[in-house]
Amino acid sequence: MNPIAVALWNPIVAKEYRSRMRTWRSPLAMTVYVLLLGGLGWAIFSAMAYSSRNSYNGGQAANYGQGLFLYLVLFQMVLLAFITPALTAGAISSERERQTIDLLFVTKLPAFSILWGKLLASMSFVLLLLLLSVPIFSLVFLFGGIELDQVAAAFLVTAISALTLGLIGIACSTAFRRTLPATVTAYGAAFLVLGGTLLFGLLFPTDPDPKATVAPAPPAVTYLSPIIPLITIGTNGPITNFGVRNGNPLYGTSGAGGTVACSVTPGGVKSCYSVPSGPMVKGLIGQPYPVQASGTMIPSGLFSGWQYWQATVTLQLAICVVALILGAMLLSPIRHLPWRKRAPADVKT
């Protein structure tokens, strides 16, 4: 086998597959996962079908498709945020608790391979869950309104987010000797990444520059959360109501960006039409509002011109690298932390 294959495929992966798939827990987890996702899809479809009876254009199949897709990807992300830390937070600490980790350390497997093997085994299960959800997502195409690239981008964001949470879980698992504190910390970190960053955007929104010719964007840290890109992918529109101070005008934003202008015709019929966003658009109450974002691109800031999902994937991959390095450093039985100078093993005479 070539060195790359050896590095990627190590005996831990095969052993973990065997151990995991021989218990009743894995098939149960897969069944519950599919049932939850399918159940939610069915519930949303029923709700939309019910509400469409009172709507004059809500019954369009494309709207069904888009709505279903958005809720499914968000729910799938939340489900994985619950599952992934549970899969990885015990990966190393349970070996410590079972006192089998020393037996691995005395073999030829380097510490990094142990970490990598554990990660690969856990993440393959997450990947399996993602694959299981594909048939449910394919139902969305029956309704239309969603392109294949949207599905691919949403799955990529979900998979990378799960990988990030998985790596954070593994890093926690190596840092703590016991599984319980490792799990609690991993869930805390998962909440911070998913929800904490959004909370940050709400508490410390970007102050828009009234003279700016580009629309303000939420603080860069909020892109860490996969929720924002998933919404932009699902709605195929910008984030307008989040992360910008006074970024939510009282009137005038549509899902597709820009503003909506309404007028009353001499015949007394009120009609509304979308106005593409320009440098400064006057709101209906006469106050100038900052430029509104349109499209799925980040309008300004650190990631100006990027797609939201690109920023999220980049930031999360950076966290993955940090967590991987930290995990590998903390795992070795003899920790040689870079900030701790290693004393030479001197001989007393």
Binding site: T100, D102, T107, K108, D346
Partner: protein, 307 residues
């Protein structure tokens, strides 16, 4: 094969090992004796490159445990004082997993697993789940695991703890077999009679300090001053003791369960002379035997200063 020089390990304010030194030549079985908390496991973990010494050095087959841990792991089979077993794996899969961790080619792994299972007498259990094996069988499987990469040195931490007498005897037979195969074995234990029979060398450790080390009989001789006689007489215990005490070669005389125990300095001729003196004094001797100095005795002597 194993060389330990001035090994010291300090945990915070507690010194777990205090300048421990010993040597184990190739092919020897070294018994590492000491009470709980004496530093046996710490020493073995340092030898297995799982723990960094505060100071001092240790070598396994020429490889420095601090600087060349990978080379040490190649030469060393380590069996900790607990059963490291996984659920949901059979005995054969368990061995195959560790053989793969040692990067042994797939083609060889099956044969190695079969051979080792046969060596430890688990051939008929190869497809049994590891977590359903009894304690004794798990212990044997763990020994087989330590042998998958055919190491020259075996470190066994309390291999007999918690085993029933039959399992202990079986474990001892396996270890003798391994010695015949030329392995150097270090066993830590507090079950002393077993070590006396099995080990060729011994090291007595207490409170982090090496009290005595060397070939078993040397250590026993060194620590138990002189040899001992057990004498039984027909009702004349006091008279016999009175005859023995003034003799120059006798160190101490005590009566124990109706028999007299006398410690003396000298050889078999001296013992014969003592018997002659007793019979000449009209003492009716019904039993006269030399007591083997035991490791237990040596151990008690070595550690009694600290008690």
């Amino acid at each position: 094969m194993i060389s330990v020089e001035q090994l010291t390990k300090v945990y915070g304010r507690r010194t777990a090992l205090d300048a421990v030194s010993f040597e184990v030549p190739k092919g020897e079985i070294f018994g590492f004796v000491g009470p709980n908390g004496a530093g046996k496991t710490t020493t073995l973990r340092i030898l297995a490159a799982l723990l960094e010494p505060t100071s001092g050095r240790a070598f396994v087959d020429g490889a420095d445990v601090s600087l060349q841990p990978a080379r040490v792991h190649e030469r060393l089979g380590y069996m900790p004082d607990f059963f490291g077993v996984y659920d949901q794996l059979t005995a054969a899969e368990y061995l195959d997993f560790y053989a793969a961790c040692y990067r042994l080619p797939r083609a060889r792994r099956k044969k190695i697993a079969d051979d080792l299972l046969e060596l430890v007498g688990l051939s008929d259990r190869r497809d049994q789940a590891v977590d359903t094996l009894s304690r004794g069988l798990k212990q044997r499987l763990c020994l087989a695991r330590a042998l998958v990469h055919d190491p020259a040195v075996l470190l066994l931490d309390e291999p007999a703890s918690g085993l029933d007498p039959r399992a202990r005897v079986e474990m001892r037979e396996i270890l003798k077999e391994l010695q015949k195969m030329g392995k150097t074995i270090v066993i830590s234990s507090h079950i002393l009679p077993e070590l006396t029979e099995l080990c060729t060398m011994v090291g007595i450790i207490d409170q982090g300090r090496m009290r005595a080390t060397g070939p078993v009989q040397d250590v026993i001789r060194q620590l138990t001053s002189g040899r001992r006689l057990r004498i039984t007489v027909l009702g004349q215990k006091e008279e016999a003791a009175a005859v023995l005490k003034p003799l120059p070669m006798i160190h101490a005389v005590s009566t124990l369960n109706g028999a007299i125990e006398a410690e003396y300095e000298g050889d078999d001729a001296t013992a014969a002379a003592i018997l002659q003196t007793l019979t000449a004094a009209g003492i009716k001797v019904s039993g006269f035997s030399q007591l083997e100095g035991g490791l237990e005795d040596a151990f008690m002597r070595a550690t009694e200063d600290e008690q």
